[in-house]
Symmetry: C2
DNA sequence: TTCCTCTTGTAGCGATTGCTACATTGATCT
DNA sequence: AGATCAATGTAGCAATCGCTACAAGAGGAA
């Protein structure tokens, strides 16, 4: 058992790396196994079946996403909600977060479709992002909790619009909000 | 040619119905063909290969989505941005739009992944939703174009949060925005 | 040693994938 | 009538899918 668990935990990082690069949808056992340095036979041995492999993998990915957010904490807190919004949006659009972004929308789609494990992972990732965002709110913000939720909604909407080629639309929308640069 | 085109246009509605119910990811030729009352053989004959079939199908779906929006035009224009927001959010969360919603996030994911045809369809669907939303803005709104873009960003962010089980988060975020009910 | 359990490789199963070669229809055109 | 051509069915291809049966090695317990 201890050995099996150890192997599982050894496998997960490499599986996650493969999925971050090639996506969840087309992920099949043999390519996953090759990326992790084993065989499909062993993946089934360690995880039981593909469904729980994906579930466990999503849970693990949610964990490293959380760690990535912690490492992206800014040195200085932004002074305004607008600055906070723009800083985080730039982070989300940046190349470092791009593999996560591409995978993220796949997780959202799986969550909408009801695929096992997807909604749990998505829920956890959003919850983490929310508390992270609360910590990034301006110090003098009158309502950090509500403000974080408001910004989260706007940021995710903007990121989605960006992904489908409507970054300009999101940018123009910001100008009509209470976050518009004065 | 005329006959082939006619057949293609006859097939597309049934293909769209199947995809709206079962998703794009797992869509393979034989189930698609069965749903459309033909064979995989004929799907390839009419569309050339699966990739252009999916592209054409996405384009067609964008069209019927546009038509569905036109049919969902309200009798009365909302009086405030807040009312407009809530009305449209309720529409998006309603059961009638649910098949579209589930498919939508799959299209967003494909767009992020760069799958052929996905980004074009997503772009078109968002553009349509945008002009539709502009027509739904309050009559006395000082900036209908900017306001529609702002609302679109907020609505899509809220819908995404809803899909991953964070509807409450979106609701609380709204309270911290300038759309909060007075 | 002898057993026993954990781990792994080899080989393969039946199902499904996108796609194609070949033959046949039925209608239209000359 | 004979030729032509789009449309369709049948059969099957090689590749891949998730998963499993079987055997063999390894290492600790008796």
């Amino acid at each position: 058992m201890t050995n099996a668990s150890l192997s599982r935990e050894t496998l997960l990082p490499k599986l996650a790396a493969h999925v971050l690069e090639h996506g969840l949808g087309g992920a099949s056992l043999r390519p996953l196994a090759k990326a992790a340095g084993t065989s499909d036979r062993m993946l089934i041995y360690h995880f039981g079946n593909k469904e729980t492999l994906i579930s466990d993998l999503l849970e693990y990915i949610a964990g490293i996403y959380s760690a990535a957010l912690d490492m992206a904490l800014g040195e200085t807190r932004p002074a305004t909600r607008q600055e906070c919004f723009e800083r985080i949006l730039a982070l989300g659009r940046g190349p470092a977060m791009q593999p996560f972004m591409v995978l993220w929308w796949e997780i959202v789609a799986g969550s909408a479709r009801g695929l096992p494990g997807y909604k749990e992972a998505a829920e956890q990732m959003m919850a983490k992002q929310l508390v992270w965002l609360e910590g990034q709110m301006p110090e003098d913000d009158p309502d950090p909790a509500g403000g974080a939720r408001y910004l989260l909604t706007l940021i995710e909407g903007s990121l989605m619009l960006t992904v489908v080629g409507h970054a300009q639309t999101a940018r123009e929308g910001l100008l009509a909000s209470d976050l518009a640069p004065s």
